[in-house]
Symmetry: D2
Subunit: 317 residues, 4 copies
């Protein structure tokens, strides 16, 4: 899927020997939900023995090969790299403020939660005040990517710190994209997902229109995919049941990127847009549409379910 070589990736490769290798780092991991548990399993597969913590003790104790800890402070003891993967910004802030004193100086704290740029910047400052390095490292790829170890990390903070953390991150993912200073990882993720939400709905509108007017959806998809309407939403994750195999649309919209997660990301993008007064008309409307689906109890379905909504088939009670 890569079509060009990134300057900064090359840069990272060239300099990798100049920085302290973290591939055998002591890793702490806090937050073992749907994403975190799978990420930890990949760390273990790739030779790490992370110390792990979750607010639900059983989540930590059942992971083979990890050291379960009874508090986040205990988990970060002796760590070089600390990764947090938590539900929202407030929980990340509470957790970081709790562990700050226990984190070894010179450790790198990587927050892979999706929190928005403001939280990332606050945390970076708080960490710096305690002489701890902080990176915002949100991911794309979802639960499927977390399980397969194919996540993409979008990183904000010091580029040197990014290089240092990269070997550990690559044990859980396939790409580490350096995006700029603190908060840039979060911003990049929100911008990408803003496009994603809008493009998916636009694709659903056109596919529904074409099918209702008599087109074969596979044929329409084939044409769009060699034309100017082409996108990831049409060529990799088509929302029409039966057009592609092994995508959520062909599995009753189960197991993909949920409506409530894209709605969460569009909400964070809205907050970010509000902070600098950037108009986002289509993203705002997309946000409303996804939230309307949540009102009808479709929040757990893959976000391509917009196709069924437009078709007049989605909203049963």
């Amino acid at each position: 899927m890569f079509r060009k070589t990134f300057g900064f990736l090359v840069q990272i490769d060239r300099n990798i020997s100049n920085v302290h290798s973290r591939s055998n780092s002591n890793v702490a991991f806090i937050g073992l939900g749907q994403m975190g548990a799978r990420m930890v399993e990949n760390l273990i597969k790739n030779g790490q023995k992370p110390r792990v913590y979750d607010i639900i003790p059983a989540a930590a104790s059942t992971i083979q090969g990890a050291t379960p800890c009874s508090s986040p402070e205990e988990a970060v003891d002796g760590a070089d790299i600390i990764i947090t993967m938590l539900p929202n910004g407030q929980i990340v802030k509470d957790t970081v403020s709790r562990i700050l004193k226990a984190v070894p100086k010179n450790a790198i704290l990587c927050d892979s939660s999706t929190t928005g740029p403001q939280v990332a910047r606050e945390l970076s400052k708080v960490a710096k005040d305690s002489n701890i390095r902080f990176l915002d490292t949100p991911v794309s790829g979802g639960v499927v990517g977390a399980q397969a170890g194919t996540l993409c990390f979008m990183v904000g903070g010091s580029q040197k710190d990014c290089q240092e953390a990269e070997p550990v991150l690559l044990k859980m993912g396939k790409k580490v994209l350096y995006c700029g200073e603190s908060g840039a990882g979060q911003i990049t993720k929100l911008c990408n997902n803003l496009i994603l939400g809008v493009t998916m709905i636009g694709t659903c509108e056109a596919m529904n229109l074409g099918v209702k007017l008599g087109l074969d959806p596979k044929l329409l998809t084939d044409v769009v995919n060699v034309s100017t309407g082409r996108s990831w939403s049409s060529d990799t994750y088509n929302p029409v049941p039966g057009v592609m195999e092994n995508v959520p649309a062909s599995k009753n919209y189960e197991g993909g990127f949920s409506v409530e997660l894209i709605a969460k990301d569009l909400g964070l993008a809205s907050d970010a847009a509000l902070s600098i007064n950037a108009p986002i008309p289509l993203a705002a409307m997309s946000h409303q549409l996804f939230r309307t689906l949540m009102t009808y109890h479709l929040g757990k379905k893959d976000f391509g379910v917009v196709y069924k909504f437009l078709e007049g088939q989605a909203l049963k009670q």
Copy 2:
């Protein structure tokens, strides 16, 4: 940019020897505007000597290698393939009704204008009643594609007729995509352009948001293009000045796909959606946004100028 082989293209290739070859057809071409004149030049380059007509006589008489005609009836005299490329559906309908008696029986009438499916179906019926074969053959690629001979033809009508017309169409373009029965070419074009309009605006919203929050637009583009936000609008036609060379955004939004043309297509898509009550919320909002730009005299600019509008820089008077 092709990523897969299309079943129907293969089909066309296999059967091509079974049908009467039209590569040395007598061609008539009606409508020599920005698009039509360039398409005719490619026909001539590829060995045709078309009979041509335009309502403005000079448009016909100045094309070297063509036979200028003083009426559309004269142009179609003796033609095997007749191509119309006209501003809107009403003009196409008026022209077709005028020439019907003069068109040789068994000729194929290819309308490459963008008219919407209803006009295409009406014309198909009218032509059939006169024993003339009709194909709707709208194009993508714009003026640039017309000049370069790289247009893509989306074809509705009989598949056999499509195969017969294909050799001539390929003298003006690089792809002939058979889309289904009469009107299917028009529907396919509208569906594609609906996605295009929505995706472009979504991309502009995200790029503006990211840049205003401090991201480098090239870096953001690089990440989006390997992520789920990827689309033709981001990886081939990026709307931010300076991110890509040789796209309208880097040439003051001159010379591309104009705001008023995408607005026209979204208007036709709205009519088609209305006819079958298919909701198109984002396309409707996109239509409004493009029309707002027209209100501010930006209708001739490339449609990526939405980026400047969102940035707060577009609307001068």
Copy 3:
């Protein structure tokens, strides 16, 4: 509900003796659907003996006091005032072109159908070419107003013709509002209904938001109705069940102004806006929302049913 005296109404009253009185006119009425049949009944109650026609013969023959006719040409024979009340502009155009030769010179043709300004202007011209006077006289008030004889007529055309037709129109309604030259009645109706559609949805959004946050809907309505959010949609036709008696919202959204009729009017308003490139972003979005409800088979419900849609209760299958 009147708060000011209209100059033009006073004008009409003052001059009424100067023009030929039409209160004992010979009236023809074409189109006896939900609206037309009730309007005719009020004509009869008020002393007229109209000649009537409908494409369904039984619709004409069952109205006591009217003269049923077997063709529109027969109906207009000898008429001074001809009123048409038909489903859409195409049918009006077909009907008018059919009856033109049969209409007595100097008669006034009043089209009360909702057709948009373009059709009104075309008809005005066609009528004028046959020396027949034409007024566009669309109504507000719906089936309830038609039955009660409380319709409001919005009139475009010659003001003198309006004065002449007024006595007859007032037998079916309570207000005749002169709006300007030909088409102005249609434009006025579309503008009013555009506001109506948008305001109703905004009111539904706020009422749903307030109620879900714990407010009493009657109390919220009382405050809004003495505040800047006040409108006909809140103080006369409140969309929340139980807030007001005798409105559709309190009768399961039965019997009011249907979703499909407001959607039709917003579609005509969109066409009119497109013709002069006037942006209507909220009206366009409202149009989409009403059409989404139609996709879920709610087209016959009163348009306040948007409240139930937002509440998460409307869309059963």
Copy 4:
């Protein structure tokens, strides 16, 4: 403008003798901006001698008849009723937490700032923990109403406390509307202003459409105001220049309810809607539209300036 007697207002009147009269209360007022300074002047006109504080000392010292204080703690000393009128929720929270210990027990703290329901509920709890009574008392009426003493207070909290504070509030306004428990005043204000923002834009769309199609704006307004499109935005605050005298639209959109204030309120309404997942599609689009105007430096203009934006005349640089 009142059309009905409110049960709860009557209730307040009947019981007013049962509660301690506060018409001669000791009043403290914190926050002397555009709104606050004018409210204080009306308190003084009506016989109060308030103790006042603002972060800018000159704001307090220049009000004749008030006692300027050098800290908020000093201002609340001995007060029965404390009124805060501050720019946003965070400042209110900071101020309240600072003064809590200095506020006399049994005093009533009235926050007239627009903060949203969540802040109101937090403050109510914080106050209660210190045995202080709290009311959220946001206002409608703007700077004009503050100056004229015609504000409307929307009150959340204990109804008995509302009755007790009412005599003081009525020295700055003409209406005190009890809306329900803590936060209800804020919710009511946001709901009202949500309708207001949407209805104003819808009215602007229709007026622009009608005028561009040739209608006289006064005539169109007259018809709308006796029809179903009637609202405060059309009959009291018409956005078309020249239709009404003494409204901002006729004074170059100066001196009214600013674009940035309605945008702020729509932002708070969005947050509230997000908290309970209530869809607000038109309000979200309205929010975007007002924010787009801010991008073009129109944030200080009256919000009816949307009319000029749609007309194609607003956005100069």
